[in-house]
Symmetry: C2
Subunit: 146 residues, 2 copies
């Protein structure tokens, strides 16, 4: 069952922090998530981000249609989210935390710890035209109701 | 485009080592894979395996129907594969390598480096009855053509 955590991200439109199942045993630890449950959209693509220098801010764009799901599978990453009216930050520092970002959320990631690996699932194949990289354009879109 | 690497795993039935796209830049590195291309099946579930003690052998089962795709997203893991007639091992030590395991391949993972994280995609939701955990039963199944 999906476990949506209560946290300040709930203030940002439709952004959710999700608890993924985790099992710790003597022979290792495991996290597990299923599409349609913890991972709330069909997965068409995944990417990993790593070797990010200290002080780097990555992301800083929104998507028109693409949904994303972020998991720090090693180390920690701070995720910043912005719906055009409210902003929030959360630290992804456990592999059992997933951050769901719907379309039209401006997202950025910063403070990668040394060795951190961010895993991102996307609902769409790569499409350059799906990216909104101009913040003023983003604001116009969300304020006009798209 | 899928890039299937030539290596000894080609001797084991339908097991493939796949090169995932990788981009290195001054602000960090990225790997990207798309479902239907590098990742050759629809994803219904993912799991991560980590904090595995040195000397531990994990996996050691086959699946009746489930396809899997393994990526060491941090550190390195040795993957052992066995189709009932031939066995092979490969070291997954770069996040741009994916190992595709079809059903009815006996798989095991060992030699997790400290901090290693193995990411596994699965084509099916969790189903206890899909697991074959008895090696003799596995051999009977593959030798009888299922």
């Amino acid at each position: 069952m999906t476990d949506v955590l209560g946290d300040p991200l709930g203030e940002v439109r439709d952004v959710r922090l999700v608890r993924i199942g985790r099992v710790d045993a003597g022979n290792g630890s495991l996290t597990v998530a299923e599409v349609g449950s913890q991972l709330p959209f069909p997965v068409r693509r995944f990417f990993t981000v790593f070797d990010v220098p200290a002080g780097e801010l990555r992301g800083t764009h929104a998507h028109r249609e693409c949904h994303q799901f972020l998991v720090a599978v090693h180390g920690s990453v701070t995720a910043r989210v912005d719906d055009g009216a409210r902003t929030a930050e959360t630290v992804l520092d456990r592999p059992e935390l997933g951050l769901y970002l719907p379309p039209l959320i401006w997202g950025g990631q910063l403070d990668y710890s040394p060795g951190a690996v961010l895993l991102v699932f996307a609902s769409h194949p790569y499409d350059r035209s799906d990216y909104i990289e101009d913040y003023e354009e983003f604001l116009r879109m969300v304020r006009s109701g798209r």
